[in-house]
Every structure is written in C-alpha cells, then in structure tokens.
Symmetry: C2
Subunit: 258 residues, 2 copies
C-alpha cells in the first residue's frame, strides 16, 4: 500500500460539503467511490478541512492509502476523467506512509469574500456575501489585528460541537480590498459601483464555522454595530456574544500547509 | 401604459432557458411574475433572444409595457431585490411605445467559448465546452471567414423548426484566443496548460441553435475532420451535413443592438 496526497479545487455550490453524508453529493464520497473502483476495495479518503455545503476550495488537500500501482499523474487523469466538472484534482503526489491530510497539516488559509455594494454580478454571487451597507474598513482592520496570536476561540465555534480544546494560533488576519484585482474564481466587475473585500485568515487549525463566525463579527464591526476590540469575546468564550455565522458561499479554502 | 427596455445578465446553469415553460424556472417567467405583482395585472415580457437552458447572458434585452409610474431606476432596484442572485437587471430604460426587444433588434452578438486543453478549472466549466484535442486555429479562422455575409443558414438550424426564411447576414465571425485575458465571467487560469478560444459571431438574426451548430462545425474543422470551406453547406441547406450542436453551456449572449 502507498500513501497519496491529493490537491483539489471545487465549486462547492451543489455539494453537501466535503464530508460524506447519508443524502446528497459530497466531494469525499465522489473520491472514495472512484478510488474504490480503481483498487477494487473500499478506500477511505481524509480531508484537511471539512468544508460545509456551498464552501469553495482552491487548494483542499486529501490523503488516502491505495494498492494501485498506477503512477501519480495517471491517477490524477483517471480521477478527473470520472469526477464531475465542478471538482478537479490539481495534483496527486506520493507521500511518506505517515502523511495524513488533517493531522499532518501545519496550517490552513481561508478567504471570506464580501461584495460591498448595491449590486453583485450574477457571476460573482456564488462566491461572495453581499453586504450593501457602508463598511468601515479601518475598524474591520483593527478588529482583524486582534485575532492574530494564540487565543481561545470558543466564542467563534458552532454551539453543539464538543471540541474541548478551542485554543488556536492565528498567523494572518487582515482585510484586503480586491476590487481592482478580483482573484480566481471572481470575474472582473464583480461588484459594479461597489467594493470587493476579503477577510484573509490563516491559522494552525480552525474550529467548526470559525471563519464564518469571525466574518459575521467583522461585518458587525464594519457596520459600526460592534467595537473593534474583540478581546472581551475571547475571555467570554461565549458564542452568543459574537456575531452571526456568515453564509457558507462567501468562504473559500485557499490552501493547506504541511 | 409606458414601454420599458430591460438589460439583463444571467448565469444560465439552473434555468430552463429564457422562455417560460410548463416546468422549471425561466428568466421570462421570473420577470413576468415580479412585474405582474408591481402592476397588479399580468405583464408580458418579450426577450431579444430565446436563450436555451444553460446558455448565459451578459447583455440580454427584454421589453414590456407597464402601468406603474415608478421611475426606471427604482424599478431596476425593485426587480433586483426580488430576483434570485443569478439574474441581475443591469438597466431599465423608458423607450418609445413601438420598441420591442425582438422585432426592434438590428442584430445580436454571441460568444461560444472553447476550453482547449487537458483540464478545465472547476470555476470555468459552466461557461465553456472542453475540447481536449489539438485544434488547428488557422483552419477554424478560415472557416469562420466563410460565414461572414448573407447566406442561407438552413444547414445550421435545428431540425424540427419551421422557419421558412433561413437567410441571415453575419457581420462578424472570428476565432479569438482569450487565454491571456479571459473575459467575464471566466477566472484567470481557466484552462491550465491549455488555451481558451472563442468563436465571436454577430448577425442581424439567428436561427434556433445556429451558433451552437456553427461552433460544432468549426470544432470539426479545428480537429481536421472537415474542410474549412463551408460554402457547400450553405448550398446543401441540409442540417445533417453540418457538425453537431455544441453544448449549451459554452454559449453566451453578449449583446443586442438596436
């Protein structure tokens, strides 16, 4: 058996998310079905991050062990030939036996994209959260700066999850104005008469719905409904005190680092 | 009653097409429902072109007569507030009573986009037809040049349609390489390791499936399965002699001229 690392991009709109579920199409389920056919035996695929329904990925990473002796690039082509067009395998690499997409990850980077204007292009709507109101970007930047460092992020994880250890180290948290250079997959003129803003965040790990809760909180700061000093939220460890969970479709998993 | 011209963009993926149908969501049906609510009476909306299911529009034009006295930009905002995010009204203009989106049109421009390479970005797949094989672009250019002028396009219209008069005047027909500057709604790096090609075509009118039949024929020329001299096809007036109808999702209605 060999260990493989798969690097993937997907348009999350029509999936139930990364993770296999009883109903609906998941990226994990698609990969396991195809790799299982190749090996003639069940194959378990682990993902670096369990992206929710509607979340997009530019560089998700998955791992599995496989018996097949096909070379890595042939496997990549075989997967792409059978996957639907909204999921592409960008790379397949042989890796040491101990490699695991989630447990070996040193960190991940996400982008949460805001369409700040009166209208969003019908070709950008799947990838952005429209916030029509005026946003104080300076206040959002100040708030984002408070996220950098090692904190208890309990106030930013979904209730109902039972993660004991909610301390994470955020290495990047900033608000970027992408209006003039919309990154893939956004078209030019994504927000006519408005701005395209992104919350760029990297950490050694993320709690469930953490980026979306952070984005919802930063938007409240931008709308001047909340103070930019978020430190009391860390201390409270109380999800009810932070902002709402921003919609899934504005979130992109950008890359995973090992 | 006043006459209105609506300019629209839409992402055609999930629609049954422009035209209202018994089942499924159409752009015409959405507009008629909202405008009917605004007027409190049925409103008929005419479109310049009946785009098929999956066809995208950057600048579709529609017309209607309306009793409402709301000013044009307020109507635009009211429509966008109620339309789904994959349809946007770009402009609403008051026009002379005689204006009709279809009958007043002097011409239309379409773009058919080919992803010529081994892999298509999952963010470009909705907007392109993937043709992995090597394409002879020079031969395609030669063939496209034969389309310009006034011809009987019977060989390029769907069988089953009973248009008596199939003579149309094509004013632009060329193959463009868009690899380095992918137009909206395509992302950068739409075809990693390949080319993004477009068949750009403008005419005073189009028959049913005409652009898709032309695109299918030009691809056969590009694959060197067909001679670039298309003149015999005009003379034959025989749909069976031309190439296949290319898939709907590679087609964009770019603009309508009046």
């Amino acid at each position: 058996m060999r260990s493989l690392k798969l690097t993937l991009a997907y348009e999350g709109t029509r999936f139930v998310g990364w993770q296999r579920q009883a109903d609906g199409t998941s990226i994990q389920g698609l990969l396991e079905a195809i790799l299982g056919d190749i090996d003639g035996a069940p194959v378990a695929v682990a993902g670096a991050g369990r992206t929710d329904a509607g979340v997009h990925a530019l560089g998700q990473v998955a791992s599995c062990t496989l018996a097949s002796a096909l070379d890595a690039d042939t496997l990549r082509k075989a997967l792409n030939a059978r996957l639907p067009a909204d999921v592409r395998v960008l790379a397949v690499d042989d890796v040491p036996q101990a490699f695991h997409a989630r447990f070996s990850a040193k960190g991940k980077r996400y982008r949460y994209v805001l369409a700040n204007g009166p209208m969003v292009s019908p070709f950008a709507a799947r990838f952005t959260w429209q916030v029509p109101g005026r946003l104080d970007v300076t206040a959002m930047q100040q708030a984002a700066a408070h996220l950098v460092g090692t904190h208890d992020f309990s106030a930013f994880q979904s209730t109902g999850t039972d993660v004991v250890h909610a301390v994470r180290t955020v290495t990047l948290a900033e608000i970027a104005d992408l209006t003039d250079e919309p990154p893939t997959p956004l078209p030019a003129q994504a927000v006519p008469g408005g701005r395209l803003l992104a919350f760029e965040v990297a950490a050694n790990g993320f709690l469930r719905h953490m980026v979306r809760a952070l984005a919802g909180t930063l938007v409240e700061v931008g709308l001047r409904r909340r103070d930019p000093d978020l430190r009391a939220l860390f201390e409270s460890a109380n999800r009810a005190l932070a902002g709402p969970t921003a919609p899934a479709h504005g979130l992109w998993l950008v890359e995973v680092n090992y």
